[in-house]
């Protein structure tokens, strides 16, 4: 594959797309699929065929459009968005289209709202636009040009230079500088090197990575290929959880297509660069998202973390230098190479560059997937993009970072969303889960929920996490049953400190965060439970009889 050949594929595809005047894009990512979008697509296709509109109108399946709570979503020519479309609505939609009438009013979803306008799409630029199962569409959207350019015009060091300059930091949770990680692996000595894409995505409620893989799998492959070239790896793995069958299917299709075009395999683009990618399916253990556990799992061992150092960059898969990055991290790479590191570094804040994809959930008007520039305030996230708290209720807290993160109160709303600010406030960026809570949530109960998650997902290898999460959960249970004494709170705080500072891996080290942050901002609620047997939110204490 040369640059010219790539250009040719892109042009052919663009021409064929241009030949149909109207485009009906039906979201066929998991969210909308669960709202019958596949049937919607088929009915639309049949309708178009029956009405003989095939010449001027093309129906295609695309990836996620973001507003998952309003599925099934269908867009017409990228400017009209239909929401909550059912198969029965196809007739009305096609009638309007055929007659050139204004769109069907009851289905129209306004797109001039902050939910759409405040977003900035880099990772998701193709999501909801291209058919994820056709490599030609990815190529027509400038896909693989970054790879070809890197292979033919840049040295590995120059590639890393661009990534370093971009300021990109790992999107898997910890925010480690990607360029630095790449250069460490590049310098490490080994008989062989590996690149691993972490698509385990275990945070409850998070689905950013799944969406990227379902909507634009080639972007991740291209990112991995560029990384492999930069660090000198010839083999790669995508570790994806088995609960993501659609992502797996599309990845498999993408890999086959890329191989067929010579973009994966041996002598890629006629150079001496070889790269093979295999999928490995995770069985759904949260801890297997931790890099050393993930590597153990790929090696066929029990998925338990091991102490670092040595870091995977030095001794990873099979003891060889291994680059491991998150899906979204890789997805950022092609645009960075296409537009240059400086372009990326111009977006975001001083230390947190670019955009971040969030899965917005909980008590807000609009839930779904959004991509926003780093540095946007929590207030904008909740009240503009999220559309505020529904049913006239009051905002209480926003939870970021999932089970490793924390709950931030209204005082923090004007804080910018970046790695440092969130950490300073006692939470973390995490992988991008964002759950909004109103006054009907009890913060102790929320802390207990996350502790329950950590306790169940602890691998059981190290003592503080294995037994400490159990003990903390028990104490939280006692508090939410309104049966705790003041000394229980002291024990809880003591255990938080112990588990945070002595656990082996990030799971245990961050398991106390939801408790610590709620203790920090909602201490009054704990006190009310313990001293006055009272739960202001009215959640705790009631015996639930099933």
């Amino acid at each position: 594959m040369t640059r010219e050949e790539l250009e040719q594929i892109a042009n052919t595809e663009r021409q064929s797309q241009a030949s149909t005047a109207q485009k009906l894009n039906v979201c066929v990512a998991a969210g909308c699929l669960s709202c019958q979008s596949q049937t919607v697509k088929e009915v639309l296709e049949k309708g178009v065929a029956r009405r003989g509109l095939g010449e001027r109108c093309a129906v295609k399946g695309v990836g996620c459009m973001g507003l998952c709570s309003e599925g099934a979503l269908v867009s017409v020519d990228q400017n009209i968005l239909y929401k909550r479309v059912l198969p029965a609505d196809a007739t009305d939609m096609l009638d309007a289209l055929e007659a050139g009438r204004p769109p069907v009013e009851r289905l129209v979803c306004p797109t001039n709202t902050p939910f759409f306008q405040r977003q900035k799409k880099i990772v998701l630029e193709n999501s909801g636009v291209i058919d994820p199962e056709r490599i030609e569409e990815y190529i027509a959207a400038c896909g693989y040009t970054a790879l070809v350019e890197a292979l033919t015009e840049l040295t590995p060091a120059e590639v890393i230079e661009q990534v370093t300059r971009s300021g990109l930091r790992g999107r898997g949770g910890a925010g480690y500088p990607t360029g630095l990680k790449w250069s460490t692996v590049a310098k490490a000595v080994g008989t062989q090197k590996f690149v691993i894409c972490n698509a385990d995505e275990g945070d409850p409620g998070a689905f950013m990575d799944r969406s990227v893989l379902e909507s634009d799998p080639h972007r991740v492959l291209e990112g991995m290929l560029i990384a492999a070239y930069a660090v000198g790896a010839s083999e790669g793995y995508i570790y994806v959880r088995a609960e993501y069958p659609l992502a797996i299917k599309r990845l498999k299709i993408a890999i086959r297509q890329a191989e067929k075009l010579g973009l994966l395999g041996s002598n890629i683009c006629g150079t001496r660069f070889n790269f093979r990618v295999d999928l490995r399916l995770g069985a759904g253990a949260f801890v297997c998202g931790e890099e050393t556990a993930l590597i153990a799992s790929i090696e066929g061992k029990r998925g338990a973390p091991r102490p670092r150092p040595p870091y995977p960059a030095m001794e990873g898969l099979l003891g060889e230098p291994t680059l491991i990055n998150n899906v979204e991290t890789f997805a950022n790479i092609p645009p960075i190479l296409r537009n240059g590191g400086e372009w990326f570094a111009a977006i975001g804040t001083e230390k947190s560059k670019g955009t971040k994809v969030f899965a917005l959930a909980g008590r807000v008007q609009n839930t779904g997937l959004v991509e926003v520039p780093m540095g946007i305030t929590l207030r904008e996230m909740v009240f503009q993009i999220g559309g505020g708290v529904p049913d006239g209720k009051n905002f209480k807290a926003v939870q970021t970072g999932g089970p490793s993160g924390g709950c931030l109160p209204a005082e923090c709303l004007d804080m910018p969303v970046d790695y440092e600010s969130l950490a300073r406030a006692g939470s973390i960026m995490g992988s991008g889960g964002m759950i909004i809570m109103d006054e009907t949530s009890c913060m102790v109960d929320v802390a207990k929920y996350f502790m329950d998650f950590c306790m169940t997902e602890s691998c059981g290898k190290c003592v503080p996490c294995r037994v400490g999460t159990y003990q903390m959960h028990r104490l939280l249970e006692t508090i939410t049953q309104l049966q705790a004494a003041p000394k229980d709170l002291a024990l809880l705080e003591e255990l938080c400190d112990l588990v945070k500072h002595t656990s082996l891996c990030g799971l245990g080290q961050s398991a106390p965060n939801p408790v610590l942050s709620t203790l920090r901002y909602f201490a009054e609620e704990y006190k009310a439970h313990i001293e006055r047997n009272q739960c202001v939110a009215g959640v705790c204490g009631q015996e639930v009889h099933v």
């Binding site: 691998c459 059981g460 290898k461 003592v463 503080p464 037994v467 003990q471 024990l491």
Partner: protein
Amino acid sequence: MTASANVKTFQINGRDYSARAEETILEVARQNGIFIPRLCELEGLSTVGACRLCLVEVKGSNRLLASCVTRVEEGMEVTTNSERLERYRRGIVELLFTERNHVCSVCVSNGHCELQFLSQKLDITHIHYPYRFPKAEVDASHGRFVIDHNRCILCNRCVRVCDEIEGAHTWDVMGRGIDARVITDLNQPWGTSDTCTSCGKCVHVCPTGALFEKGRSVAEMEKRRNFLPYLQLMRGDQNG
């Protein structure tokens, strides 16, 4: 590499020491009579860093490091004892006592148990976290040995010795978190294991009374470990 480049000089508790680059802080401390508590580490087995008792402070690192898996480095300044470390170590040992059912007074290992020893060494006179009192099994199906899960602390030594020294890999771990437990073969009674060679190594590396020989009564189970360095040496020779 020259011999001298391979030697690191560093400080433990303010005193100078030197050691080979591949040695861990715990090994060096042991050689020099500095006590660091440990339960998962055992000379002759690979290290897993699981019990977290050997945590030490290293100047310049904001995290505590498990000394059993941390190699010495030039200029390192290690503290093996501080009020904070003591507190954490006590907390960890106490958590272990709450996890299963340790009834030292009627235990085969009473007086010879590493967990019990540490409780006294760390001046633990009671457990201030609530006990769990779980239901745990005892498997006495093997002809010569018994595993009593009530006393297992999941140090993983049995798993490692069986795999790394005996080469049988009879033992493994199943389950997650608080439900994790050691199993023989595919979680079948030990007595029906096809892989167990009845060598007894697991019994003797076990730090507690979880693994013991049949016929031993209270306080009668003393563990013999001298085979470990010996076997290690033999292996080393064979491997050239």
